[in-house]
Symmetry: D2
Subunit: 258 residues, 4 copies
């Protein structure tokens, strides 16, 4: 699996989440506590919002723990909303196009999880990507496909509904053609104004998700696992939950498939 | 576009084609004479046959002219049949999965050319890839797709017929949904025993192809452009031709779409 | 050789110099007009100043023309002072540590040129690097060594004098142990407040340097070759010149070796 | 630290050591049992001997466990004598030039260990590299320097004596200018005919070394840790030992510094 972290709030350097904390995302790339694999060395990526509507995007295939470009960028780029991800592949090759986050116009997306037996019906999944978005299908991950399908399902207008429909269709496909576990899906996505996330699984093992409402800079951080081990200020987001953070307000609601 | 070179005959070091000649493939990567672009620095690859049925495969995204691994491998690997390629992208990203040659079981394939307007109907092209081969669709190039579609069309049994059918279907799609030039296709492919090639275009500009029947090592070399500038021992393979080299014999026949 | 470009003035996106102009630095990486080689595909780098004293630094070994990270970063990072470089190796390997710019504390440095016969007396050059700076000697280029030696010669206090001494010693070494041309040195360096450059050679062929005093954003750009072909608003900086730009003012003075 | 494995005997595919065994070198790159770090993801390399006097050499900075080129090469290259290494950096950057094995003419060398406080006196170490070999100093590792210094000390004529002198000088330097542990040195080196190794440390913790005299293919394998967990056919090579394998014969002798 993978680990990710996202932030929304006053502008901060990306390093405050990506590299500086005791158990930062980079620390989790070599030594995750709660992930399926403790090493997440199959690439990394960051998407961050600033003046422009599209996010900046930086992704590479090296292990996060030793990449000087990643460390340097995190130390010198500031943003009010950003997504960062370290990858442990569940099958697709290590290639920049298979690294998260993915970006389309002003939207960015990253994912921790899997689609059970995906390799066996990827063709059907690709076919679900809207024609007009297919040129943006650059890699072969289930994650990138889910993002493009969600865009086709109206992610830009109603993120929650789009996700319900998307995961609904994908899980149906997994149940028909795939294998257990059919779906594990803990993802974050943003349009630069709101930061959303969903924690869902077809079984009891939805990949972890935590939120910290109080944060030294005044914002909110959503993470796969806490940035400090043993810190109780992190609140677990329950499975089957949709989260949306905008203008400092956090809304959580129950999430079930369409 | 790209440049490529292939060899069939007594075992030789790959460097005798890839790096040592005056205008070797590596020389062509920085300074091609006849290609659409004179720089072909978007990656390279080599597939070579030895003891095993599957070929060895080495591909990377660096410019060929400065990659020490490529130079070293070419100098130390010997083969009786190999394919080598340097890439100039016609749209798809620079990624190992988009570098040629592609390989499937004992078959390898590389291509110089394009499918006109491909980016606009790639989804339809992907759908033509047989279900059981889709997991081998790792990148996003028209070349990789053509290879997999050809495999589905019986490349393993009748390479020429499979190519006629494949290019026939692809050109029809290009004419319906794409743009001129609809198809430029000069490709080489092999199963480790025979080395085949096709030179075809929907217009008068089929990417170049030369063959040298006399070769200091006793084999045959098929190339995009001669390995020595001004050397008249290279014979041009006419457009609309299918070539097959096996056991030292060269067969050329007319090639037209199905 | 290489191509580079630097900017000092009101904050602008790096892309205004690196990728957007008609003959931008990225354009020059594949098609330089005035460089020794027209292809500069052996890596690239950018150093930019913002809130922190140290610059951000991003360097990679891929050709600049096809690297999505470079294009994306240039489009999303803003700075009031930055250096950008595309490399054509004069011998040292393609490795991130051999890419420019180099950085040390608040200083950054990049270079176009060479030290004649350097490979034959690199050991002596390395020995000129101050002991306390040796741990920052990460690659094997003459450029990185010159930077560290200049730091030891007081670059931080008096850049011009430090360069005179540094180039003086290096040229003496080249004349004693190397070969013609002994030195070609057109470099830019900065502490985040002032942007300096020197254009020097031991013969008549100092690598080119241009400055544009009028610039749509109100700042100054120093470049190896103009960012628009045929644009006469670019003024050539004569050989044997030291340039310093600070607070919008440009000072040029004669430069000769110590 | 790092893990390595070397083989000498009848020609075998490199994969029989590098990737196929239950606890192969690639398996050790993600999950070493006895190394200082359990992840060795800072690059890899292989040097193999064939027809030519110089070895083939392939090195890259990616984690070994996910690199398709490494897996493919190991499966398709055969050799009677080869060295393979996966790296966990002790300070020097992740760069191809800092990956092992290193090669010079017909010699190759790889190392597991460290020189205590090396970063603080690297300049002095670099100065010990013979002038005529300095152009081969491409990276910044203690390992590469030790190899070049050993070559200067007559490695080609008397490997054991050269190592005794080299480690003697280096340890003296570490004791004078460095810190504990002064030296940990378990290395393998070869000229294509004999495969040698040394296991040494200035304290009681010489990095592990095992040898297996019986091997399904009839050769000998020297490894940092056994290729099968719990397999008792592996014999530990004691600390302070010099090993030399030639023509199927193994000679071990006591090793102490000069």
């Amino acid at each position: 699996m993978c680990r990710w972290a996202a932030y929304s709030g006053p502008e901060i350097f990306l390093e405050e989440v990506v590299s500086r904390p005791e158990h930062s995302l980079i620390s989790q790339s070599i030594n995750a506590e709660e992930g399926k694999t403790d090493t997440n060395g199959d690439g990394f990526g960051m998407a961050w919002y600033g003046e422009k509507t599209e996010p900046g995007l930086f992704r590479d295939t090296y292990p996060a723990w030793s990449d000087p470009n990643l460390l340097n960028l995190a130390a010198h780029v500031k943003s009010h909303l950003f997504l960062a991800h370290v990858r442990a592949s569940t099958g697709s090759a290590t290639s920049r196009n298979n690294c998260h986050p993915f970006a389309y116009k002003n939207w960015s997306f990253m994912h921790n999880g899997m689609l059970g037996g995906y390799g066996g019906y990827r063709k059907a999944v690709d076919q679900m990507i809207p024609d007009e978005l297919y040129e943006h299908r650059k890699g072969a991950t289930d994650s990138e496909a889910a993002f493009l399908i969600a865009l086709g399902n109206g992610l830009m207008d109603n993120p929650k509904l789009a996700m319900q429909n998307t995961l609904g269709t994908l899980e149906k496909l997994a149940r028909a053609s795939g294998e257990k576990p059919y779906m594990r899906f803990t993802a974050a996505f943003s349009d630069g104004k709101r930061l959303c996330a969903v924690r869902y699984a077809s079984d009891k093992f939805a990949p972890t998700l935590y939120i910290r409402k109080l944060c030294k800079f005044g914002g909110h951080t959503l993470v796969s696992e806490p940035l400090e081990i043993g810190d109780s200020s992190w609140e677990e987001v329950p499975p089957n939950t949709f989260v949306c953070i905008q203008n400092g307000k956090v809304e959580m609601s129950e999430f079930s498939l369409a």
